[in-house]
Amino acid sequence: MATEQLPLPVAPRAPTGGAPARRLPERIFPMLPTEVASPFDDPDYLFEAWWPGARAIASCEGGVLRLQVAGLADAGAAFPELATLPAQLAEDGTMLDGTLLILDPDGRPDADLLRQRLAGAGRPGRPAYVASDLLWAGGQSVRLNAFRVRRAWLEAILEPGDRATVGRGYRGDGTLLAEALASMGVDGLSARHLGARYRSGPAGDAWLRAPIVPAEPRPRPTLALILRLPLGE
């Protein structure tokens, strides 16, 4: 099937053997997705859920996590629970591109709880980080490598944990994933081109976002229901 998880093209290893490690930049100008009309199928793309969360660049240097979230001076202070993220990384000097979520007690991402966090109104829910892309590893920028390679390194470097993990990617089958996400009440699909390098600013074809129209208006389906309900054709 075309939807299998992306296989590792290289053996897990330090992506930048030998070269002297450099300091990570304080902030970067992240890649910005291009909106497309609808989900599609294409074997050159890796499709992921567009979870209802906040875009976050996670930098781990000297075992310390720094989060870059648009419009937030010190995001790390709002998410102290994620301070253990560096311990899940096999490489220091690493920068990840991903999504910051707040999970409700049922384990569903809750955008309202996230807004409360970002607004500094307490610390409800449980934060989680879903990594999608690797920008730096071992103190070296890997942004010029193809996404196929960056992604494989990301999966080799980031050990899945309770709070942070690499998102599930499905190659080729965007419409299938969109159907599954529609049943979960997720309204967006991410598509990253496997051959593209990481660009700052508008991504062009390298990264696309497609809206998902829910099959039926179901305000907050429970996970139990999601697992049981048939998926509308």
């Binding site: 909106e35 999970l103 309770d162 159907e179 599954a180 979960m184």
Partner: protein
């Protein structure tokens, strides 16, 4: 098993089967005693007469029926015993009904009793039990228990029979005054299909052993902790959810979507099973990106 609480005979036609009744259920709820908060001594309930302003011994009480406001007629024990009832000391079978059809009318049940035949009635007992089971019948009968004639249903149950006392029809309240949905409410076929799917997915064999009275267990643990002089442990906090659970839910959802596609495609394209990525992709909707 505990002592039988009733001894009599099943009677129908000319047949008499001597049996004993045993309570089939017991209350496992935790009983409390009322104590004086000051000294923790057990409170005694005294029967008190406001007219004489004195405590009355139980032997000095009689049964009174209030037939009009404040006016009573006294019924003595002798008069109670003399009430002409055919069903005294008997389980009198009135009729047999189909077990299924009877079920609707027998939903207002009170108490279940096991039956045990006396040795001399064992054969007739077993015969009745077998025929009821084979024919799928329930016997509707009357029995006097605790001074009251009761309506009851008699059903085969494993290798004995179960007598279930029922409420009389005039004890069952009407439900017509409730605010209930009417036939005017229309349901979309999709909504009905979803409900049917949900029910089908949760349909299984009822196994009562899987269910427990959690409240009782929690209350008992608090009591036991206090007996042991410990502070009760607060209820276990819900295990924090993990991001891996969300990923697992996504994978299950994708698997379900794939399964739905497969079953939808099967009738049409059974022969052409795509094997390679490209063949797979060719069957899918055309690439539609960059159309925003």
């Amino acid at each position: 098993m505990a002592r039988s609480m009733w001894r009599g005979a099943i009677q129908f036609g000319l047949v008499t089967i001597p049996v004993k009744l045993y309570l089939a259920t017991e209350s496992t709820s935790i009983g409390f005693n009322m104590l004086h908060a000051d000294c923790l001594n057990r409170i005694q309930m005294k029967i008190y007469c406001p007219h004489h302003d004195e405590v009355v011994p139980r032997s000095d009480t009689v049964r009174g029926y209030e037939w009009s406001k404040g006016r009573y007629v006294v019924m003595t024990d002798a008069e109670m015993d003399a009430v002409p009832l055919k069903t005294v000391r008997a389980i009198e079978i009135e009729m047999f009904v189909d077990a299924k059809r009877e079920a609707h009318e027998a939903q207002f049940v009170k108490q279940a009793y096991y039956l045990e035949p006396d040795p001399m009635g064992a054969k007739a007992f077993e015969l009745l039990r077998q025929v009821l089971a084979e024919q799928g019948k329930t016997a509707i009968c009357k029995i006097v228990l605790k001074d009251r004639e009761q309506l009851a249903a008699l059903n085969p149950y494993d290798n004995t029979m179960l007598l279930t006392t029922l409420h009389w029809p005039d004890e069952v309240r009407s439900h017509t005054e409730l605010n209930l949905p009417t036939a005017e409410i229309t349901v979309k076929p999709a909504e009905r299909a979803m409900a049917e799917q949900l029910i089908a997915s949760m349909t299984g064999e009822f196994s009562p052993a899987d269910y427990r009275d959690d409240y009782r267990a929690a209350l008992m643990s608090v009591i036991e902790a206090k007996v042991g002089g410990e502070e009760p442990v607060p209820a276990q906090r819900v295990e924090p959810t993990r991001i891996g659970d969300l990923m697992a839910a996504l994978e299950a959802s994708v698997a379900a979507a794939r399964e739905a596609r497969r079953s939808a495609a099967e009738p049409a394209a059974d022969a052409a099973t795509p094997t390679s990525e490209t063949a797979d992709a060719d069957q899918r909707p055309a690439r539609r990106r960059r159309s925003a």
